[in-house]
Point group: C2
Chain length 243, copies 2
Amino acid sequence: MNKVFIVGIGPGGYEQMTIRAVRVLETCDVIIGYTVYIDLIKEYFPDKEFKSTPMKKEIERCRMAFEEASQGRRIAMICSGDAGIYGMAGLMYEIGEHFPAVQLEVITGVTAATAGAAVLGAPLMHDFCFISLSDLLTPWEKIGNRLLRAAQADFVICLYNPSSRKRYDYLEKACDLVMQYKKEDTVCGIAINIGREKEEIKIMSLKELRNTQVDMFSTVFIGNSQTKNLNGKMVTPRGYQNV
Amino acid sequence: MNKVFIVGIGPGGYEQMTIRAVRVLETCDVIIGYTVYIDLIKEYFPDKEFKSTPMKKEIERCRMAFEEASQGRRIAMICSGDAGIYGMAGLMYEIGEHFPAVQLEVITGVTAATAGAAVLGAPLMHDFCFISLSDLLTPWEKIGNRLLRAAQADFVICLYNPSSRKRYDYLEKACDLVMQYKKEDTVCGIAINIGREKEEIKIMSLKELRNTQVDMFSTVFIGNSQTKNLNGKMVTPRGYQNV
């Protein structure tokens, strides 16, 4: 059967890939992905054919994978992080409805949030939410309501896509909503360029986060009521009792 | 400096470890962990010393890691999945307060939820929450409130620790709360023994989930209002517009 693997390559370099991801890519004829991700892994798979489409041409990229697979070639579609978290897996299954002869398999990877959490300390040790601040495909009202409810229920909140040129004030807007329920001195963290060159972390209060500019290579973490700054690390205790 | 690595070994076998995790374990003198996790990887690191403590003796296990490291040995503390998601990373940082001469580094891994999502299809393509149903260290009122708010804001919900012998009816209680805001026919999924022998998935409605018995090796996914069953796969679209 014709097959496409949807492979999460992790947040950065080769070392953060799983062994299974490497082994699957080694068996494929063609590796398809956004140029930036292909550049991250290309040197480790020198005998493969690589194909790409520009940014925002995700639907075309998915179709390309199915069309190549339909010709009997073994295909890998790569995504950064995990393919199933704000990645390409969902779109591939949706477009796959039109290609019933092609089988899909998702190869899981390390997502930005867990890799970012690892460099920040241990912020995600208790219940948490992932919220994307991108309103390209989701109305802002829905995003805002999620921020409010997550803050109200004392979740740790991890923000994906916290900013872009057009959405330069979205993190500020998000913090204002969250501060309706979380204290101004809630411990927050930013992980920048996770697993890549110039990796950097910052720990600050929610009030400071509100007035901080972040870029699209940043993942933002807002603590719960128990989250602490332990010698420059962001740590959420695993429970609400003393250890 | 004396060092302890806190290493996530992924949900199951050797292939789901990252290359970095393998390389770090290869450099360590002693690998410490819960017996079940040691048994998963032991054969791949034949020349290492392995140490363990029984289940529920996590604090003793952490102290053991610091004490060994204080004697100048290079130590890895292993966890299943990612060490930073309901794992040992937080406790290690807390106990580390008493061992200032020992440096900690978290090596991220694939968490059960992303690996489970990969076998179910693509349930986590939009904003989601992780909620543990274990009330050992968290009052049930807090857990219940999180379930309600997460349902109200139309998050995809991923449940860790959905059941145990003592908490046999917690999934039922959780579904009853969630159904205050989510429809009975919301698409749900269960991933069992992820990445291990007898891996299995089930797709069902929220109403059916309420009446299903799960065990401690299961991870439960409750969809958002857009989640679909596409030919037996659980798929959440990436946005609220047509693709």
